[in-house]
Amino acid sequence: MMIDLSTELSGLKLDNPVIPASGTFGYGLEFAKIYDLNILGSISIKGTTKDARFGNKLPRIAECYAGLINSVGLQNPGIDHVINNELPELRKIFNKPVIANISGFSVDEYVYCAERMDKISNVGIIEINVSCPNVHGGGITFGSDCEKVFEVTQAVKKVTHKPVYIKLTPNVTDIVKIALSAEEAGADGISLINTLLGMRIDIKTHRPIIANKTGGFSGPAIFPVALRMVYQVHKAVNIPVIGMGGISCAEDVIEMMMAGASAVQIGAANLIDPLACKKIIEDLPKLCERLKIQRLSDIIGITD
C-alpha cells in the first residue's frame, strides 16, 4: 500500500507533516551532519530578533520527569546575520521552504522582522512567537493578551504576503479566545503550544536551578496539555493548526493530527535523540499501514 504522508499549510505543500520546532534544531547545520534534512516536511528556524541577543545567565537548563525546563532567552545572532549567513547556509543543504520564527519586544520589532523575512525566497511561512516565557517585556506578554495578539497579527499581516502563523503560549486561561483573536486579525494559521512556565529548586542550596528562576517546560510530559489545546483550537478556528508539545514518536504525530493538527513540530525530542525526526518520518508509513490510513491528511481533526 502506498501511503500518502503529504499535507498542506496555507497553500504550502509539505511532503510530510514533520517539522523540527524552533529552538531545538538551530539552523539545521548540526543535524545535516548526521542525516539528509530534505526528508523533513519543513524546518522552523531558531527564533530571530532584530538585534543579536546573548540571552539569559546560566544555568539555562533543568531536568524534569519526562521533560526539561529551558530559559535560553532567545539567544540569536540578530536578523541581519541570520538573513546573510544562516539562511543561505541552510538553503545549500535544505531545498524546501522554511518557517521563519521571529520574536520581538514591541509591535514595531515584529513588523521589522516580518518585513525583512518577507523578502527571503526560501521562507515559506512566518511564525510569530508571541509566547516566549523567558524574556521580559516581549514574547508571552503579547501572547497572553487578546488585544495584543490582534494588534501584532494585524500589523505583521500588513507588511508580508507570506502566510503568517501565530505561535501561542499555553500559559493563558482561555487558549481559544487568543486563537480567535489571531484569526480575526488575519492570521493564516496557529502554531501551538510553546512551553509551559515551570520551575525547579535545588534542595541542597534552596535556590532555583535556573538562573532566571523560571523557564519553559517541554517534553513528553506536556503532550496531553498540547493535544487538548490543539483539539480545542482546531474546533474553534477555520485556519490550519500546527501542533507541538512533547511529540516524541509516530504515534504522537497521528494523535496530534487526529486532534486537529495539519502538521506537527518536534521539539525536545531532537535534543535527546538527534535522529528523532528521521525515525518518526520512517515510522509513519508503517504505522499508517497498521492503522489502515491511506492518506494522512484524511485524519486531520477526525476526532469528534
Binding site: 548540526e30 551532519k33 531558531k46 537548563i61 520527569y65 526539561l68 539567544q75 536551578i209 517534553g219 538527534p274
Partner: protein, 242 residues
C-alpha cells in the same frame, strides 16, 4: 557525533562516590582528549554529559560521581548492560609543544587529563600532574598517572592526604597549563599562569550545539560550551561576575 551502543565491561567504585566504568564499543568518533560523551539512562529524560577519561580501539573509560538519581542508577548497572551514548562531542584539548606543561585537575575534572597525559607522552612531552581533592577519601587516579611515569602532586583542602591547600600552590611560573575542574579552581589557576587551556562544564540540554543551553561569552564572541568547547584557550576566556 554518533549515537552508539556501548556494552559495560566494568563498573566499580574507586573512591568516595566516584565510579569507573569501562565500556566496549566503537570509539572512532572520539578524536581528542577532553572531548565528552552524552549518556542516555533509563527513566532520565536528559542525557548525562561525561568527560572521556580514556579511549582506544573499542574501549571507552568514563569516571563519574554519584550526585543524583541518574548517576546513582548508573552505579547499579552491571557488566553486559548496554547504554546508548552520543560519542565524540566537543572540541577537546589541543596538543601544544611546550617544556614541562602542567595538568591541573580538581575532583571529577581529573578524568579527561588522563587521556591528555597519554597523548602528550606520545608527542614526547612529559607533563607534570597536579590533582586536587577535598579529603583523602576522594583521592583517585594517583596510581594511574604514576604508572605513566609522571611526577604527581596531590593537594587536599583539609590536609588529610598530600599537601594541605590548593592545586595552585604547586604551579611554577611560566608553565603552560591544561586545566579541568570546578569554576573556582579554573579561575584561581587562570590567575597564576600566562597561557593554557581550560575545560568548562555546564548543565546541557542537547550536548551538540542546538539548544543554546550552555552558552558563554568569550573574547571571540558567544560560544557554546558543548560544541565550541568544552575546552577554551586562555586568550578567549572572559570571567563574568568578577
Amino acid at each position: 557525533m554518533r549515537d552508539i551502543n556501548f556494552k559495560i565491561i566494568e563498573n566499580k567504585k574507586i573512591a568516595r562516590d566516584i565510579y569507573k566504568m569501562i565500556l566496549a564499543g566503537d570509539t572512532s568518533d572520539i578524536k581528542n582528549p577532553g572531548q565528552f560523551v552524552n549518556v542516555k539512562l533509563p527513566f532520565q529524560y536528559l542525557r548525562r554529559p561525561l568527560s572521556v577519561c580514556d579511549y582506544n580501539d573499542g574501549e571507552l573509560t568514563l569516571i563519574y560521581k554519584t550526585v543524583g538519581s541518574g548517576t546513582n542508577f548508573m552505579s547499579t548497572l552491571k557488566n553486559g548492560d548496554v547504554l546508548s551514548i552520543l560519542s565524540g562531542l566537543g572540541n577537546g584539548y589541543e596538543i601544544i609543544k611546550s617544556d614541562e606543561p602542567v595538568l591541573i585537575g580538581g575532583g571529577v575534572g581529573i578524568p579527561p587529563l588522563y587521556a591528555l597525559a597519554k597523548r602528550l607522552i606520545e608527542n614526547n612531552i612529559r607533563p607534570e600532574i597536579i590533582l586536587g581533592f577535598n579529603n583523602f577519601e576522594d583521592v583517585f587516579f594517583e596510581e594511574e598517572f604514576k604508572a605513566l611515569d609522571l611526577n604527581v602532586k596531590i593537594a587536599t583542602l583539609d590536609g588529610s592526604y598530600g599537601s594541605k591547600g590548593l592545586v595552585t600552590d604547586f604551579i611554577k611560573n611560566n608553565q603552560y597549563a591544561y586545566a579541568c575542574g570546578p569554576l573556582a579552581m579554573l579561575k584561581a589557576v587562570y590567575k597564576k599562569i600566562h597561557d593554557g587551556q581550560f575545560s568548562f562544564e555546564a548543565r546541557m540540554g542537547c550536548g551538540f550545539g542546538v539548544c543554546m543551553g550552555c552558552s558563554m561569552k568569550t573574547n571571540s564572541g558567544f560560544k557554546r560550551i558543548c560544541t565550541d568547547g568544552p575546552v577554551f584557550k586562555y586568550s578567549e576566556i572572559i570571567w563574568e561576575n568578577d
